[in-house]
């Protein structure tokens, strides 16, 4: 070493020593005066901020920095109460410090969201220095990004800084709520920083199921992988709230992710993120939608992000998403495929209807667009297989904007399985505010064939009911405060099928209310041009019309109705009955309810009015298999319009009714019941001052009283009671009788009425006494039994009344038992008549087919002691004298003409017996003898009367053959008149004993002509 060198070294050491000594002596001043200023100036430049430090001091191996402030106006404010740094010079040379304590740092950072996003952390490859331990005490961070605030308070952290070091951070996040946050982990800083979070607990809950690795790497690469045991809306919501972030889902939406794995990687300003969950659930209101898995992927840069993913739901349901995030909007496509809608609904706690039209599968795909304050689903196509019902498909679109959501379904068509036949088409247009659950819109529905649709849906219309085709329904829709209303619903359709045709139209409104499930108000519901024709065409209705209004209310199982309206038709046909009903409009008002669970229809009030002619008021109950009805039917005035209408409606079937005239008031009051296939009817028929007249032949006036009617289809029961009743009248007039006030006392029991007290009427100078009368309706086939006595009825009055030849005598009859049943009237009694000086007895009276076109009368007539003089004078046959006996047996009158008889007439061999020429001629005409010419010749032409010994006639009519025999002379069958013993004598014999009845009628007509 040279001297110069030694001097230089010595000088340097001296200077250095002096400097160090000086520095040692003035270290505080240097640090606080020079270094602090230098450092703050350098920091201000480096950080582009105003930096200030109150004091910088060193002592006991610690460098104390107090009152550090860093200000970037309107952006950043950092206040640190103190920073203590313990170091050693050796350590400094190795870029290590022993300990770092930061006390009460407070950071307030305000930045726009864009600035925050552009802030990039720059991480060196290796730690810039080593720190054995560092600690942060009572720190506070306030971050404001745009409108969002983030607060970390009472921050405490400790750790080290090396190639590997642990760290622990605790803090309180937010203020409402203020949640404790704790992070512990290890860092590895080799070729970049990698943080391993072993614990991340927030609000006392560890959010990590496994360590989270944060790999910020360099300034271009950031990797975060979060794997949680579970995450739900409450946890994330609380976290977001404490972070000052708004919760981006509705309050009533709850969700849960099981074992979510979030992998985030930011590389070269490109984000690659994926979210996978094993399971989860989405819950809204009462609906719980579990999902099986979620796989979402996101990649791209800040300008454009591509989203792909799928969500698996129960029922083999898959939701696929693909979209692009750009310009603050996301556009893309989505599709949903549901292989088993029933299974899907089952998993969300809903039951799929088990009908045949339950969806077998469902697919839906479309486009979506999501912006910051709007979202849209467009060109969505829905298709679902409804089994036998067909396929439902349609276009769906939806838009959300300013918290307003619109939803549209167009061309929603239901197509039959053949893929061609259109069954129904619908449209729906809705707009509303989901947050308020308020919706309104329009809808329409067209059903081509309601019956076909119902049948395919497993609800075939009952046989005999018409179908509804071309049904078109459209109206408004409103939903607010959990109340749905469909006002202004217009309805049109065609009634067809089962013989019906007609037009249906109406306007109605539907709505739900807190205490009513559904209310339907019919402003009008009308069926016009309603025609009906039975399958065989022999029953029908033309010009039917129904106008109805009213209200239906469905509450639980009860459907209440209050309906009124008018019905009418122009013509009606039922078998052989035809009626013109143009003048017979009917009005009705119905109130009642239908209990669906009990299958019970209660009719609390039913009023029917038929053209103001007949009115009825009813109440009733209809339960499955049992019907009971109570009410009144009244004809307030039977004369005038009612009578005319009755005659018009029934005149074709009952021609005689046109002779009937009616008056008074008639009411039926009672009940009807149908049970187990049998029906009962208990009525009171109450006439009030009723008049029934049959032309001028018969009439009853002032009829009043009560007639009970008890009918049982199953016949009388043992416990049935009988009741008495009476009908009174002020006048009863018939052809032969004309009586004043009278009274009919009856006893009514099930299917039976019988007379309690005999009824006596004055008839043609005598009297008629109805001693018994019983009407039975066994199995509803009427049977009438009566006992009738006729006493001393004057025949001349009968003859006068019946326009018969004048005759005298009395008629007595005791028709012991008259039966009217089915197609026959019969009696076991007899009638006796005293006429023509003798007696007539009529037995075995019977009428076959009494109400047919050709009634047939049967009887046996016996007579005795008949004065031929009276008889022949009465019938202008020609005078005869004598007493005759005989009979007409097996008499059969068909259409008033004898078709069978066996008759005999023989005179007694006593008294005056002669016969006029006229009578002889007539008898001869009947026997076809050639006597007429002989009586006009010789002495005979001067004789008017001839004596005879006997007149004997037997005649028989059978099968149109009339056989005549004469029994006037014993031993011969030819003598009708066996002449007297003394001349001039004349015999009349049968020349042609058998002739056709036609010929006999001809002969009788000849007699009639001769008589004229």
């Amino acid at each position: 070493m040279t001297k110069g060198a030694r001097i230089l070294i010595s000088s340097t050491l001296l200077v250095l020593l002096s400097t160090v000594g000086g520095l040692w002596l003035a270290a505080d001043r240097l640090l606080d005066g020079v270094v602090r200023s230098w450092l703050t100036a350098r920091a201000a430049v480096a950080l582009d901020a105003e930096v200030a430090c109150e004091r910088l001091a060193y002592g006991d191996g610690w460098l104390h920095l107090t009152g550090l402030t860093l200000t970037r106006p309107n952006e950043l404010q950092l206040d640190v109460a103190a920073i203590d740094v313990k170091f050693s010079w050796a350590g400094l040379l190795q870029r290590r410090i022993d300990e770092l304590v930061v006390r009460e740092p407070q950071l307030i950072w305000t930045a726009s969201e864009q600035q925050a996003a552009e802030e990039q952390a720059i991480w060196p490859e290796d730690p810039p220095l080593g720190i054995d331990t560092w600690r942060l005490e009572n720190g506070r961070v306030e971050l404001t990004f745009g409108a969002r605030n983030f607060l970390l308070d009472r921050i405490a952290a400790e750790g080290g800084l090396d190639r590997q070091f642990p760290f622990a951070i605790s803090a309180i996040t937010g203020t409402a709520p203020a949640l404790p946050l704790k992070l512990t982990g290890n860092a590895r800083w080799e070729d970049g920083l990698t943080l391993t979070l072993d614990e991340l607990s927030w609000d006392g809950k560890n959010l990590l199921a496994q360590p989270v690795i944060l790999a910020p790497g360099s300034d271009q690469t950031l990797g975060v992988k979060l794997s949680l045991a579970q995450l739900d809306d409450a946890e994330l919501g609380g976290l977001l709230t404490s972070l000052g972030e708004p919760v981006p889902w509705p309050n009533n939406l709850h969700w849960q992710l099981t074992s979510p794995v979030l992998d985030l990687r930011l590389r070269d300003k490109r984000l690659e993120a994926s979210l996978q969950t094993a399971a989860g659930a989405l819950q809204m209101a009462d609906q719980n939608w579990p999902w099986l898995n979620i796989n979402l992927g996101l990649q791209g840069d800040a300008a454009r992000l591509e989203l792909t993913g799928s969500v698996g739901l129960a029922g083999a349901t898959t939701l696929d998403l693909a979209g692009t995030w750009a310009d603050q909007r996301m556009n893309g496509s989505w599709s949903v495929a549901v292989a088993s809608p029933a299974e899907l609904l089952k998993n969300v706690g809903m039951a799929m209807p088990t009908s045949a039209f339950a969806p077998r599968d469902l697919t839906m795909q479309g486009l979506f667009e999501v912006g910051q304050d709007s979202a849209r689903i467009s060109k969505a196509r829905l298709a679902t297989n409804l089994g036998e019902l067909g396929t439902l498909a349609g276009d769906v679109h939806s838009e959300w904007h300013d918290e307003q959501l619109t939803l549209g379904c167009e061309r929603l068509t239901l197509t039959a399985l053949d893929g061609v036949s259109l069954l129904a088409e619908a449209t729906l247009s809705l707009s509303g505010t989901p947050a308020e659950s308020a919706w309104q819109g329009d809808w329409s529905l067209q059903v081509i064939d309601v019956g076909r649709l119902a049948s395919k849906g497993g609800f075939p219309l009952p046989d005999g009911l018409p179908d509804l085709q071309e049904l078109s329904v459209k109206g408004k829709l409103r939903f607010r405060n959990s109340r749905l209303s469909l006002p202004g619903v217009d309805l049109t359709g065609k009634v067809t099928g089962a013989g019906f045709s007609g037009l249906l139209h109406g306007r109605l409104a539907l709505q739900t209310a807190p205490d009513i499930d559904l209310a339907v108000t019919f402003e009008s519901l009308a069926m016009d041009a309603l025609d009906y024709q039975a399958e065989d065409g022999m029953a029908g209705l033309i010009g039917g019309k129904l106008d109805m209004n009213g209200r239906l209310e469905l509450t639980g199982e009860r459907l209440s109705f209050d309906l009124s309206g008018r019905v009418g038709a122009t013509e009606a046909l039922l078998d052989s009955w035809y009626g013109s009903l143009q003048e017979l409009p009917a009005s009705f008002a119905l109130k009642g309810s239908w209990l669906r669970d009990r299958q019970r229809l209660e009719l609390t009030s039913a009023e029917v009015d038929l053209a103001s002619l007949v009115n009825g008021r009813f109440t009733g109950v209809f339960v499955d298999g049992e019907t009971s009805l109570r009410g009144q039917v009244e004809v307030p005035q039977m004369n005038g319009a009612f009578q005319q209408t009755l005659q018009t409606l029934t005149g074709e079937l009952l021609p005689g009714i046109n002779r009937v005239s009616l008056d008074g008031r008639l009411m039926f009051d009672g009940a009807a019941r149908h049970r187990q296939g049998n029906w009962n009817l208990d009525l009171d028929m109450v006439p009030t001052d009723v008049t029934i007249a049959w032309g001028k032949d018969a009439r009853i006036d002032g009829l009043h009283g009560r007639l009970p009617i008890h009918l049982r289809q199953s016949g009388p029961a043992a416990d049935d009671l009988a009741e008495t009743a009476s009908l009174q009248w002020s006048r009863l007039q018939g052809g032969l009788f004309n009586s004043g006030p009278g009274r009919l006392e009856l006893q009514a029991s099930t299917n039976r009425w019988h007379l309690q007290q005999p009824l006596e009427l004055a008839v043609a100078g005598g009297k008629m006494r109805l001693t018994a009368l019983q009407l039975d309706l066994p199995e509803l086939v009427p049977q009438l039994q009566a006992s009738l006595e006729v006493q001393d009825v004057e025949l001349h009055q009968i003859a006068k009344s019946m326009a018969w030849p004048e005759m005298g005598g009395l008629l007595n009859a005791r028709l012991g038992e008259v039966r009217i049943a089915k197609d026959e009237i019969s009696t076991v009694g007899d009638a006796s008549m005293h006429a023509f000086g003798g007696a007539f007895s009529v037995n075995n009276m019977r009428v076959e087919a009494p109400f047919s076109r050709f009634p047939t009368y049967h009887a046996d007539v016996d007579f005795s002691g008949i004065d031929l003089y009276q008889l022949t004078n009465t019938f202008a046959f020609g005078e005869m004298n004598g007493i005759a006996d005989g009979y007409i047996h097996d008499l059969r009158l068909f259409d008033g003409i004898p078709s069978e008889l066996h008759a005999k007439l023989e005179t007694r061999p006593e008294g005056t017996r002669n016969i006029s020429v006229k009578a002889i001629r007539n008898l001869n005409t009947l026997s076809m003898g050639g006597l007429s010419a002989a009586l006009s010749q010789g002495i005979y032409k001067f004789i008017d009367f001839y004596r005879y010994r006997k007149i004997g006639i037997i005649c028989q009519l059978e099968n149109d053959r009339f056989q005549l025999e004469g029994t006037g002379r014993e031993g011969s069958d030819q003598y009708l008149i066996y002449g007297g013993l003394l001349p001039p004598r004349i015999d009349v014999v049968v020349s042609s004993p058998t002739v056709s009845f036609k010929e006999m009628v001809r002969r009788l007509k000849r007699i009639e002509r001769t008589d004229r």
Partner: protein
Amino acid sequence: MKRLIRGLCLLAIGAVVSCVTINIYFPAEEIRGVADRIVDEVYGEPAKPVDKVPAQPGSSYLRIFEPTVAYAAPDLDVTTPEIRAIKADMTARFEQLAPFLDSGHVGITRDGLLEVRTAEGIGLKERAELTRLIKAENHDRLRLYKEIATANGFPDKVDEIQAIFAESWRDKARKGWYLQGAKGDWQVK
């Protein structure tokens, strides 16, 4: 011995030949002739002479060995007042029914009654009238059969008479009328 055998043979032949049954038979052919006449009258066709009654069984030589049936052939009586009245009604009514038969609205059933085949094109009022006509006609036809049976002494043969008349109603139906087939279908004659 030969005598004995010959005698027995003669006895046997005699026994066979002498097996005579007296039977009031049902005169189907006569009824058929009557039916034809009545149907002609009702339809307005000229009455044809009564078909000759076919030879009675037993005319064959070989049938000498068959038991002999002696037929008591009654004279059929179809001119009773009942039958005449019914026929008159039917004849008068037929003028109203014929247009409906011609148009095919009414057809003849297998049992010889009338039935509405289709009511298409007929007003309701006319349908009611048509129903009344058909009911009256069918009622009269059935009563006619009953009266014929009663008048001729076989009241239990109404069904057989109806069957014979049914053939006549159908055989004599005019061309273009509808007849009901065996399966209930309608065929144009």
